[in-house]
C-alpha cells in the first residue's frame, strides 16, 4: 500500500521542475505571450531532452511507455510554471489515440516521430462534449466536412486528430487540401487553440470502436487539465503566502492579519485534497478502468471549482498589485480559467458524471 508518487515519479517531477525554472522563467512566458504563436520551441526542446515527448508512446515505438499518472506529474509542473508548451494534445492525447485506435501503419508512422519530437499532433474533440455555434464534423468516404472548435495544441501541429459527430477519430494532415485552420485567441496566452474548417478534407480514420477511444481521450484530457490547474493553483497559493509575508500595512505584515491568513488557509484546505483526487484519477485511468471515467469527471469539475476560488483569492491577497500586469499573477489566473472551460466546464462534466451512474432520468 502506497498512495502517492513513486521514487521515479518524484525524480521526474523534480527534473521537470528544475528544467522549467531554468528555461521558462516568467520573463520568457511574457515574451512568448506577446507573439502570435505563444508556444516556446526552446522550452519544448528542453522538455524533450528529458523524454517528455515520448512519455506515453509505447516502448516498441521508441517511447517510454509511461502512465497517465506520470503525465499528470509533468502537467502539474507545467501549470506551476505556466509553461508555454504544447502538451495536453500532442504528448498525451495523440499518443493515446494512436496507441488505442491507430492501425499498425499509423502507429509505425507517427508514434516514433512523436517520441523523438519530430512530429506534433493536435487533437479536436470538443464537439463530442458540447456543440457551440453549430460546429461539428461529419465524415463520409474518407472526407471530412464541418467545423471543429478548440483544436488543442494547434500552432505548429503537423496533423490533427479530429472526432466526428459519431465520436469516431480521424487523422488529418495540417496541410490537407480542404482544411482551413484559424487560430483562436484565448485569455491564456500560454496555450494555443484553433478552429479547423473542413470542406471535403481528406482524412484517415482511426479504428471504428463506437467512440471508445474518444471517451478515453476525454478522460485523459480532463485528468491532465485538472493536474495543470493543480500546479497553477499551488503556485498562486505560494505567491499569496510570500506576498503576505513581505507586504506591510498598519505597521504589520499583512499575513499576520486573520482576514488574510484565513484566505490563505481556505485556499490550502480546499486545494490539498485535489492533489489526492487528481493522483487517483490518473492512476485509475490505467489501473482501475471501471472507475476511470467517473473519477476523471470528479477530478476535472472539483479542481475547476476549487481553483477558480484559489485564483481569485490569491489575486485578492495581492491587493492592487495582483490586479496589475507587473507581477504577472494573471498568467496563472488565466491558465486556471482555461483549464476550467476546456473539455467541459464543471456543470457539463457533473451532468456526465450523473449519467455515468444512471442518475439521469431518461424522460
Amino acid at each position: 500500500m502506497d498512495f502517492g508518487l513513486s521514487q521515479d515519479q518524484q525524480m521526474l517531477r523534480d527534473a521537470v521542475s528544475r528544467c522549467l525554472a531554468d528555461t521558462s522563467p516568467l520573463s520568457h512566458v511574457r515574451e512568448c505571450a506577446e507573439r502570435d504563436n505563444p508556444l516556446s520551441d526552446q522550452v519544448l526542446r528542453a522538455l524533450n531532452d528529458l523524454g517528455v515527448a515520448g512519455m506515453l508512446v509505447p516502448e516498441e515505438h521508441g517511447g517510454l511507455g509511461m502512465t497517465l499518472l506520470d503525465a499528470a506529474v509533468v502537467a502539474e509542473q507545467l501549470g506551476y510554471a505556466v509553461a508555454p508548451v504544447p502538451f495536453l494534445a500532442s504528448q498525451v492525447l495523440a499518443p493515446i489515440a494512436l496507441r488505442d485506435a491507430g492501425n499498425e501503419e499509423q502507429k509505425a508512422h507517427w508514434l516514433p516521430k512523436i517520441a523523438s519530437g519530430e512530429a506534433r499532433i493536435g487533437v479536436a474533440i470538443s464537439e463530442t462534449i458540447e456543440v457551440r455555434d453549430g460546429a461539428g464534423v461529419s465524415s463520409a468516404a474518407g472526407k471530412l466536412n464541418g467545423t471543429a472548435l478548440f483544436a488543442l495544441d494547434f500552432e505548429g501541429a503537423d496533423a490533427h486528430i479530429v472526432a466526428d459527430s459519431g465520436g469516431r477519430l480521424h487523422l488529418v494532415g495540417a496541410k490537407a487540401s480542404g482544411l482551413k485552420a484559424i487560430a483562436l485567441t484565448t485569455i491564456d496566452r500560454t496555450r494555443s487553440v484553433g478552429e479547423l474548417r473542413f470542406d471535403g478534407a481528406e482524412a484517415e480514420p482511426l479504428a471504428d470502436d463506437g467512440g471508445v477511444a474518444t471517451a478515453r481521450l476525454r478522460d485523459a484530457g480532463r485528468v491532465i487539465l485538472a493536474a495543470d490547474s493543480l500546479g497553477a493553483g499551488q503556485a498562486m497559493i505560494e505567491k499569496a503566502i510570500d506576498y503576505a509575508g513581505q507586504r506591510e500595512q498598519f505597521g504589520r505584515l499583512i499575513g499576520s492579519f486573520q482576514a488574510v491568513k484565513h484566505m490563505c488557509a481556505e485556499m490550502a484546505a480546499r486545494h490539498e485534497p485535489c492533489r489526492s483526487l487528481v493522483w487517483y484519477a490518473a492512476h485509475a485511468f490505467d489501473a482501475v478502468p471501471n472507475e476511470a471515467s467517473l473519477v476523471a469527471c470528479h477530478a476535472k469539475s472539483h479542481t475547476a471549482e476549487v481553483h477558480r476560488f484559489v485564483a481569485r483569492t490569491s489575486t485578492e491577497v495581492h491587493g492592487g498589485m495582483g490586479f496589475t500586469d507587473l507581477l504577472g499573477l494573471h498568467y496563472w489566473f488565466k491558465r486556471i480559467g482555461f483549464d476550467r472551460q476546456v473539455l467541459g466546464g464543471p456543470e457539463v462534466v457533473r451532468a456526465e458524471a450523473a449519467a455515468l451512474q444512471g442518475w439521469t432520468n431518461a424522460a
Partner: protein, 416 residues
C-alpha cells in the same frame, strides 16, 4: 501508487471477515450509542478485545490485546466492520482521549487501575475542559484547585461535558498555580463524578436535545495523587488528547456513509412524479458533493500512506477537521433541500423522514464545525503551522493569569 495492501493483509482481512460472519449475531444494535453501554455492548466489547478487533495495540497488562501497532491492520478492521454494518469497539471520550493520554503520560499505577475498566465499559468518563470563558482560548480556564489538608479543593464551572450525567469519572483541567503564566498553571486531575459538590445540569442545544451538560464544582475535594503528569503540566497533558479528538472528528468512512444515505434519499423522495435526483440542480449539487467526498477519501489514503512511511501527515492531515465537518454539514443541507417542505419536519412529526435525522445532523454538524477547535482556529493552525504565515501578536505570552482562586466562588455565583 500501489493500492493493494499485500498478501499478508489479504489473509488478515479474511480473518476479520470470518470473525464478523461467525459472531455478528452477538453484536448490539448499531443504534445503541448510549453513554453507558448495555450489557450486550459490554460483552461485545470484551469479545472484540479478546480477538484484537478493538484496543488492539493496548498492552495486555492494561486489558488490551497487545498487538504491535500496524496501521493497515487497524484500517482493515475499521473497513470490514463498516462494510458489514456491524458496530466495532466502543468509542467514547474515555477510550478515545483518556486512555491514550494515560498510556503516554500516566503512572504505572494509574494505567493498571484505569485502562482496563475503561476499555471494558465498566468505567465511563467525561471531559472537563471548556468553560464559559475558556473556549477557543482554553488556557484561559478559571476553574481552580487549591490544596487544603492534602486534597485539591475545586471550584468553578465546566461546559460541553457530554455524558457527564452517566459518567463515573471526569478528567478535568483546573488552575492549580494561580501565579504561574497562563499555560503553566494548569493541572490535569481525575476524580469521581460522585464526589460531593458536583452538580450536572443538562445543556439543551439548538437540536432540541441535551447532548451536553454544564458541570459545576463547589468545594469538590480530590486527593492530591489523582493527577496525570505534574502540577502545572496539565496543558501539555491535555494537548496529547486534543490531537486524538481532532483525529476522531475526521473519519472518511463516515462521510462516505452520509453521502450514500443522501443518494438513497434523493432516489426515494419524489417531487411530483419525478425523483429528487431527477431535478438537474439538486443532482448537480449531489455530484459536486460526491467529488468532494472522493477527494477527502483519497486525501485520507494519502495521510494513511504518509504514516505508513513514518512521515508526518503535513497539510493533507491538518485540513481534515475543517474540510470534513464542513462537507458533512453540506451533505445534510442538500438532503434537507431535496426534501423541500418535508425537510422542515422534526420532533416526531407525521411524515417526518428518518426520525428527523437529517435536520438533527444539519444542526449538530454545525456544532462540530464550532467544537473541537472552531473552523477559525483550524484556519489559524493551517496558516501558521502548515503555511508558516506570521503569527498573530499573542498577548497571552506576556500577561499573567488574572483572577485569584478566591474570586472563583463569586464568579460561580454569577453563573448561577
Amino acid at each position: 501508487m500501489d493500492l493493494n495492501y499485500g498478501p499478508e493483509y489479504d489473509v488478515f482481512r479474511k480473518q476479520v471477515r470470518a470473525f464478523i460472519e461467525a459472531h455478528s449475531h452477538l453484536a448490539p444494535p448499531s443504534a445503541d450509542r448510549a453513554a453507558r453501554p448495555s450489557s450486550k455492548a459490554v460483552e461485545w466489547q470484551k469479545l472484540l478485545i479478546e480477538h484484537g478487533y478493538t484496543a488492539r495495540t493496548i498492552p495486555q497488562e492494561y486489558g488490551g490485546y497487545g498487538a504491535e501497532p500496524d496501521i493497515l491492520q487497524s484500517r482493515i478492521i475499521a473497513e470490514e466492520f463498516a462494510r458489514a454494518r456491524v458496530p466495532g469497539g466502543l468509542s467514547n471520550q474515555g477510550i478515545s482521549m483518556f486512555v491514550p493520554t494515560l498510556l503516554e503520560l500516566g503512572t504505572e499505577e494509574q494505567k493498571r487501575r484505569w485502562i482496563e475498566p475503561t476499555l471494558k465499559g465498566d468505567v465511563v468518563w467525561c471531559q472537563g475542559y471548556s468553560e464559559p470563558g475558556a473556549g477557543s482560548d482554553l488556557a484561559n480556564l478559571k476553574t481552580s484547585a487549591h490544596i487544603e489538608n492534602g486534597e485539591f479543593v475545586i471550584n468553578g464551572q465546566k461546559i460541553w461535558t457530554s455524558t457527564a450525567k452517566q459518567a463515573d469519572m471526569i478528567f478535568c483541567l483546573v488552575r492549580t498555580e494561580p501565579d504561574a503564566p497562563k499555560h503553566g498553571g494548569i493541572s490535569y486531575l481525575i476524580f469521581s463524578m460522585d464526589t460531593p459538590g458536583i452538580e450536572v445540569r443538562p445543556l439543551k442545544t439548538m437540536t432540541g436535545h441535551a447532548e451536553f451538560n454544564e458541570t459545576f464544582f463547589t468545594d469538590v475535594r480530590v486527593p492530591v495523587d489523582q493527577i496525570v503528569g505534574q502540577r502545572g503540566q496539565g496543558w501539555f497533558v491535555a494537548n496529547a488528547t486534543l490531537g486524538h479528538e481532532r483525529g476522531m472528528l475526521g473519519d472518511p468512512d463516515a462521510l462516505e456513509n452520509r453521502l450514500q444515505a443522501l443518494i438513497g434519499l434523493m432516489q426515494e423522495e419524489r417531487l411530483g412524479q419525478a425523483r429528487a435526483i431527477d431535478n438537474p440542480v439538486l443532482r448537480d449539487r449531489l455530484v459536486a458533493l460526491q467529488a468532494e467526498v472522493a477527494a477527502m477519501k483519497y486525501n485520507g489514503m494519502r495521510v494513511l500512506s504518509n504514516s505508513l512511511r513514518g512521515e508526518p501527515g503535513g497539510m493533507a492531515k491538518l485540513i481534515v477537521k475543517l474540510q470534513s465537518c464542513e462537507l458533512a454539514h453540506q451533505i445534510s443541507a442538500l438532503a434537507i433541500d431535496a426534501m423541500g417542505e418535508l425537510g422542515i419536519l422534526y420532533h416526531n412529526s407525521p411524515r417526518e423522514r428518518h426520525g428527523g435525522a437529517w435536520q438533527w445532523n444539519y444542526m449538530f454538524q454545525l456544532g462540530l464545525i464550532i467544537g473541537g477547535g472552531t473552523a477559525q482556529i483550524q484556519k489559524n493552525i493551517i496558516a501558521e503551522r502548515g503555511l508558516e504565515m506570521p503569527r498573530e501578536p499573542n498577548p497571552a505570552k506576556t500577561s499573567n493569569v488574572g483572577p485569584k482562586a478566591s474570586d472563583m466562588a463569586s464568579q460561580k455565583q454569577g453563573a448561577n
